[in-house]
Structures are given as structure tokens and as C-alpha cells.
């Protein structure tokens, strides 16, 4: 079966005028199969990007601010220059085609509606420019607006809409274009929690209704988990392999991606031992199958730890020196008798307080060599 969107060996350029936005983002020249060709005024930001998305599927690309996620989408959409790589839509090479001939709709972070057109005219716009009669275009536009539960505002001007309504109307308009690919540039960023769930629901409806391949870029794992079937991450100026959310959380490909996911505590230690490697940290030891010997970081989720009575056999006694409450977990800062410290994430039911002693067992972790 032909993929709806296929991107191969794409190098994404950053405009140098936007250089300040990327201050602090390291551009590491990793090995590239294509020569790094930087035209004047541009800098290569993402290298050798490969991705495939099937029709009806949604790929989320996770990345820090300024990592080039938006530039990647804009390049795929044909809104930004590209030097190398290919973009195929349903097997058709659109690399050199202008944006309007790609069957790719790009939705900006802030919904962009035409201010001189009503909501209905906005949504009917992609149909009208294709020569669909006014009556038919409006009928289909109303249908899409109803699907996304904004039928009641069809006569309004765009500036009379709330934030959530603007998102829904922009989505309805995108669906009316019947694209093969829908690109969503951080559609949930900068939304307050009440609107957030509203727009998330609309995106899920859009995914079901459209049958288009969707690519969503975000810096928020929750947004990716809510909508996407696969997740890839921007890591070391390239994209990691797309994995299902479960696989990605179970085995993130590298430490940078693990940090990006934001759900792990990082515990430093050493991997050693003859035969089965063992990871030793201030709280004790645990098996580290497949881990390389030497200094390492173990990434541990809150539900992968277990608190034990102080001095449990084989476990070190640790003092709690700090406790930070978060929405879904608690960060505990622990110290051993030698003064070494570590921070672990534990569930909300943990009652230990600073000054108390305890032991802690790590049931499962992912290990990465520390640099």
C-alpha cells in the first residue's frame, strides 16, 4: 500500500534572520548521506529527515522549541525552500511543486482565517476556488462545521469567534480542502486548559473524518499521546524512528529523546559486572541487561519505583532532603551517608517528608551512557 506522505533525505533549512530564535540550540554536524548545502541566508537545521505516514494515521513529532519542527512542516508544505530530499504524496513526487499543487494543508499554530470572509465563506473557500458551485460548496461547508460543532457560528465574522471556535473553523476549512496530508503546527500550544480539551477533541474528529495522513508537531507529550498513533522526536538534528506511544515510552531511542518526553527521573550510576551487567546507584543495585559498562544514566518513571522500609536487605538507607509536589507525581531528593544525591519521581501516595529515612527499589529502567 502506498504511503500518503513519504519524506526522504530531507535537509531542513533555517532562515538566518530567525537565528536568534534558535540561540542555544546546538547544531551538531552528524554524519549525513547528502552534502550539507547551505544557501546564502540559510542554515541547515534538520538533517536526513525520513518519515512515512499512512492515510488516516497521525504522526506526532516531538521537539524542543527552536528545534526546527515548524520549519520541517513548512518545508513539506512547500512554504519554505529546500535543497535536498524528496516529498511524495500518495506516491506522487511533489518536491518541486508549489504549495497549492501538493494536496497538503498546513495549519498554523494560531488559526489563520480570512478576516474579510464570514465563517461559512472561509470554510467554503477551498471548494469555491476549485470551481464547486456556491450552493454545493456551502452545503459541504455547513456539513463540516456541524461535524466540528461550530455550525452555530457560520454567519459570524472570524474576529467574533473564541479561540477554540477559531481552531475548529480552521480545521473545518482544512477538511473541506480534502487534502491527502494535513500538517498541524503546534495546534494546542498557547491554549488554556478549557479550550485545550475542546480542540483536542476536534483534532480527533478531524483525524477520523478526513482520512488524511496527519503530522502534528508539538513539544508536549500529552498532546502527542492524545492524537497520534506514532511519535517521532527531534534528536541531534534529525528525527528518531517513529514508534507507537507505548514503545517510545518503554524504550526511548536515546537520552535526548527521553529527556524530551519529560516523564523520567534521571539517576546517575555505573554499569559494571561480569556476565549480566549491573547498575549501581546511591540507592543500591539493579540488573541492566544490554547496558554498556561505564558511567550511565538510568531513566525511571514514577510507577517503576517502590519505597521500602529503611535498611531493607541489600538496599542503602537514604535520607529525604527535598520534596517537590507536581500535578501527577512527587520529586524526592535523596542523599546517602556519603553525601551523594539523586532525584527520583514517585507516585502521589508517597508520604515521606524531608528529614525521614527510607530505601528505594527501582523495578525497571532504561540505561544510557552518560557523556
Amino acid at each position: 500500500m502506498t504511503a500518503a506522505l513519504e519524506v526522504r533525505q530531507l535537509n531542513v533549512l533555517f532562515e538566518l534572520s530567525a537565528e536568534a530564535a534558535f540561540a542555544g540550540v546546538p547544531v551538531t554536524r552528524i554524519s549525513s548521506s547528502t552534502p550539507l548545502d547551505e544557501p546564502p541566508g540559510f542554515r541547515v537545521g534538520l538533517i536526513d529527515v525520513n518519515l512515512t505516514v499512512a492515510a488516516g494515521d497521525c504522526l506526532a513529532i516531538l521537539g524542543a522549541s527552536g528545534s526546527g519542527k515548524s520549519s520541517l512542516l513548512r518545508t513539506i508544505a512547500g512554504l519554505q525552500a529546500m535543497r535536498t530530499g524528496t516529498v511524495r504524496v500518495k506516491g506522487r513526487d511533489v518536491t518541486t511543486r508549489p504549495a497549492e499543487q501538493r494536496s497538503i494543508v498546513y495549519l498554523h499554530q494560531e488559526p489563520v482565517l480570512f478576516p474579510h470572509l464570514s465563517v461559512l465563506e472561509n470554510v467554503a473557500f477551498p471548494l469555491r476556488i476549485r470551481g464547486v458551485s456556491k450552493d454545493e460548496a456551502y452545503r459541504r461547508a455547513v456539513d463540516r462545521l456541524m461535524t466540528l460543532q461550530v455550525g452555530s457560528v457560520m454567519g459570524n465574522a472570524p474576529d467574533a469567534l473564541s479561540g477554540g471556535q477559531r481552531h475548529r473553523v480552521a480545521l473545518a476549512r482544512a477538511l473541506c480542502a480534502e487534502p491527502d496530508v494535513l500538517l498541524l503546527d503546534e495546534p494546542l500550544a498557547s491554549l488554556d486548559p478549557a479550550v485545550l480539551s475542546d480542540v483536542r477533541a476536534a483534532l480527533q474528529v478531524a483525524r477520523t473524518v478526513s482520512g488524511a495522513a496527519m503530522v502534528l508537531v508539538t513539544h508536549d507529550l500529552d498532546d502527542a499521546l492524545a492524537i497520534a498513533s506514532h511519535i517521532s522526536a527531534v534528536s541531534w538534528c534529525s528525527l528518531t524512528e517513529a514508534l507507537t506511544p507505548d514503545d517510545l515510552l518503554r524504550t526511548p531511542p536515546d537520552l535526548e529523546t527521553a529527556r524530551l518526553l519529560g516523564v523520567y527521573a534521571e539517576v546517575s550510576g555505573v554499569v559494571s559486572g561480569v556476565g549480566e551487567p549491573v547498575f549501581t546507584w546511591i540507592g543500591g543495585q539493579l540488573q541492566a541487561p544490554g547496558a554498556a559498562h561505564g558511567a550511565a544514566v538510568a531513566c525511571v518513571r514514577s510507577h517503576e519505583t517502590a519505597l521500602l522500609a529503611p535498611g531493607t536487605a541489600g538496599m542503602e538507607v537514604l535520607s529525604v532532603v527535598g520534596r517537590t509536589e507536581r500535578a501527577h507525581e512527587i520529586l524526592l531528593e535523596l542523599r546517602n551517608t556519603a553525601g551523594e544525591t539523586a532525584v527520583v519521581r514517585v507516585g502521589h501516595d508517597v508520604a515521606v517528608r524531608p528529614g525521614e529515612s527510607m530505601s528505594i527499589s527501582i523495578r525497571h529502567a532504561r540505561f544510557f551512557q552518560s557523556h
Binding site: 508544505a77 512547500g78 489563520v112 478576516p115 474579510h116 473557500f125 480542502a177
Partner: protein, 265 residues
Amino acid sequence: MTPRRMPIARSLLLLALTVFALAPLAILIATSFARGWFYPAAVPAGFDGGAWHDLFADAAHRGALLNSLLLGIATALTATACALPLGRAAAAGARPVRRAVALLAFAAVALPPVVLGVGLQLTVLSLGLGGTLFGVFLSHLVPALGYLTLVFLGVFTRWDTRLEEAAATLGATASMRWRIVLLPLLRRPITEALALGFLVSWAQVALTLLVGGGAVRTLPLDVLAMLQSGQDQRAAAGALALTIPALIVLGASRIAARNTAAVVA
């Protein structure tokens, strides 16, 4: 100053400004209809429409009026058609390009008319267009293009390019984007640019005189000539006639502004 005195002071200031703005116009109106108004008489002996009749009965004046209208319309259309893409390209360009275009446009506006006129006279003469309507049109185009380039540079510097991007990815071709998105949203600045371009040409005296060399007559030149030859009533009527298109153009641009969504905030 006490709170009670503030409104009085403000009212007096407003009155003074009104008198300052309207008194010359009132005097012009009175003079244009006056009959036998000689110094030191405070009021004219009578009123009639003789000066207005003379102004429009004279074929030479009608020709001057026609020249002024032709020059104004041609200058407005040409300068707008050139300044819009120029301002758009400059706004999208790198900062040095933007600065260079702004500097050139500002120079065309800021140079004293006599300096600009002498330079343009030499250029137009070398092209063999001295004393022709086309030569005068070219000379009017220079300051008009300067003004309008600055206008469109400002418009497109604040322009939301995402509108065109959204239209493009929804399937709109370049011509559709111009027709359906850009032009309707630019109706207000385009109308204002047309008005400004017309007015720059309509009120032009120095460039017309220097480049036209007296062979090209326009209404402002005729008004000046009438004033110099002591035909005060006809000069007043001519001066008032000069304000009519200006008022129409300003009114039209205000109406267009009201009817257009303010997308360029």
C-alpha cells in the same frame, strides 16, 4: 489651572483653530462670488457667479483643468501600480534592501521641489520630453512614487503573510491569492494610495512649471497666473475648484476605509 477653567481654555483653543482653518476658505468663497470688492471696502458691492462662469467659459482654463485631471489620474494609477509590488518586495527583502528602498523613496519626497525639479527637468529634456504632458507626468510620478512606496512599505512590513500561506496550501494559485485574498484586504491602502497619488500630482506647481516650461498648463499654474495678474475673483474660484477633487478623493478614501476590515493593524 482650576477644573472649571479647563473647558473654557479648550473651547477657545478649538475656536481659534476652527477660525484659523476655515477663515481662508470663507474668504476664498466670498471672493470667488464677490463683485466690485476693492480695498479698503470691508464687504463687496455685490455677489454673483461671474468669476466661476469666466473660469469655466474659458477654453484655456478648461484645457488646464483637463490636463490636471489627466495627470492626476495617470499619476495615481501608475504610481500605485508600481509602488504596491515595490513596497511588497522591499518589505519581504532583507533589512539592507528595505532600508535602501525606504531611503530612495524618502529622498524623492524630502528633496526640495526646486532641486527635484531642476534634476528632473534636465533628465526629461535629455529624453526630448521637455514641455510635453508626458514629460510632466513622468516628473509627477517621482514624488508620487516616493510617497506611495513609503505607504506600501509600511503596509507590507506589518502584513500577515500567513494569510497567503493559508490560501496557498488550501489550493489557491498565485492569481487567486491576489484576487480573493490580497486585493480585498488591501482595498483600503490601495484607495488611500490612489487618493494620495492623485493629490500629489493635482497640487504640483514647481515640477509642472520647470518640466512643462509653460507649454503644459494645469489648473494650479492658471490660478497662480490669475493671482499674479490681479484677477483675484477668478483666482479664488480656481483655488476653490482645486479643492473639490481633493475633497471627493478624501471622502472616497474615508468611505473605503469604513467598509474595509482593518487587517493591517
